[in-house]
């Protein structure tokens, strides 16, 4: 089980770095975060202190769009190329395959996140940022990213068409993300609370992003990951019944 997960994980990492997609996404995100960081820095000269959670917060938001691009290939391509048939007839558990894929994607995202530490280093050099605040934002963004990738992986298992997979995942992620806004406009306070509790933003903006690490938010993202992976394993299993 562990061996198979590790092998699938290794192969995924190899795939990310063998294809231009991974580099393009990394370049795009670093460029965007760089621009944001730069303008925030300009502001912080006069208007307000630099925000240490700026970059991780932006990255977590960006994952609503980028996670589906990172995950659309994972299972859809295996199904399309027929390699899924070999994977499913190899002596390995289905959960090992799904887990390996997910961890591969999450690891790649973690590298991306780590690359943005450069902004924190710059801040440390030129000012005295609140490192605790930054750390909490990074933990939050890391979990947030994991949850979005798990959603993306689920949709990759549903279809052999990568575009369809990405589109569906993006729609659902946008919905989970906008839930935060929907919570603000419904009349019923209770309903608004519920909507906010299930939205991705609701567990980030008012906690991790302001320097709070709350167990309920960690549990929320971990829960999303577990549930999504569980459903994905079931869907992969169902390949056998079709």
């Amino acid at each position: 089980m562990l061996r198979a997960t590790w092998l699938v994980f290794q192969r995924e990492i190899g795939q990310y770095f063998a294809s231009p997609t991974a580099y393009l996404i990394a370049a795009a995100l670093l460029l965007l975060t760089g621009l944001m960081f730069n303008s925030d820095l300009t502001f912080s000269l006069t208007v307000k202190p630099a925000d240490p959670s700026l970059v991780p917060t932006f990255l977590s938001f960006a994952m609503v769009f980028f996670a589906p691009l990172l995950t659309m290939r994972l299972l859809a391509e295996e199904t399309r190329e027929g390699t899924m048939e070999l994977l499913l007839t190899a002596p390995v558990a289905d959960v090992a395959i799904v887990l390996g894929k997910f961890l591969g994607a999450w690891f790649y995202f973690s590298l991306l996140l780590a690359a943005t530490f450069v902004y924190q280093i710059i801040l440390v050099v030129i000012t005295q940022p609140d490192l605790g605040h930054a750390l909490s934002a990074y933990i939050g963004a890391w979990l947030y990213g994991g949850a979005t990738l798990a959603v993306g992986l689920l949709f990759s298992s549903l279809t052999e068409n990568q575009i369809v997979s990405a589109f569906l995942a993006m729609s659902v992620l946008l919905f989970l993300w906008l839930g935060d806004l929907a919570g603000e406009i419904v009349a019923s306070v209770d309903l608004a609370r519920v909507i906010r509790e299930i939205s991705l933003q609701g567990h980030y903006t008012t906690s991790f992003a302001v320097g709070l690490v709350r167990i309920e938010d960690v549990a929320y993202y971990a829960g999303i990951i577990v549930v999504m992976l569980f459903i994905t394993v079931r869907i992969v299993e169902s390949h056998r019944w079709r």
Binding site: T83, E85, L86, T89, P91, V92
Partner: protein
Amino acid sequence: MIEVHNLTKRYGAHTAVDDISFEAHPGEIVGLLGPNGAGKTTTMRMLTGFMPPTSGTARIAGFDVLTDSLAARRQVGYLPERVPVYPDMTVAGYVSFWAKLRGVRNPRARVDAVLEQVQLTDRRHTLVRNLSKGLRQRLGLAQALVHDPPVIILDEPTIGIDPQQVIEVRDSVRALGQQHTVLFSTHILSEAEQICDRVLIINRGRIIAQGEPAALRHQLQPGQHLYIQIAGASRGEALRLLERIPGVDSVRADDDGYRLRARPDVDVRGEIAERVVKAGFRLLELRPVAMTLEDIFLDIVGRGS
């Protein structure tokens, strides 16, 4: 090595595989022969643990494919009809991935050995995407062999590659039969005849005949078949003349001559020659016809429908 009992697969109302039973012994090459859509791939997919049977059982080396799936899968090397590849991996990397995933103890040595066996050693650093179709087929074979499984299942391994490569693949399948139990499917009869120790003819999900290719031919072809060409006689005259010969079961016109089936216990050839000449016609040709597996197959499949 492979034991299949009353295996059935239904998709809703459609029955893809209908109550088939057969066995394959160690070192035997068994061919699944049938037209497209006969249920060959479905049968193989059930044996490899890719899909569960609707009913019936299948065992690979004693392990049930449903209840002992992981153990059964460990005993099988499988090459699906369309060779599944990771285009961005190298040849050696691809084979090594499958070796490790199937728990091969010494993957590096096995990968080297198997690449040598399928003659891909000089391509080991080539990206899979750059391989020709025939080379991909060999790569698929390497993947199926790398964990040295006792049972090898090949789904139409000679489809879509050029004739020279077909011969190579056939040779390697035959060579595999010395150490492994091989189950392979084809819709080409001569191929089954050349390679297999035993042939299962499958049509519409059912096994309609099975046996050694030679025995199968014998069993399905009672009596002797002769081809005769006669000059100077009208078709009607010739048919009437031949039908009256004692021992002849049936006669029919075939191309420019006649196909005649006679009882196996009498030799009618002398009588035919004599009567044709006596009737004032000329005998141009008289030869025995060996029925090919193709004829048998068409005969059976035709009867089946």
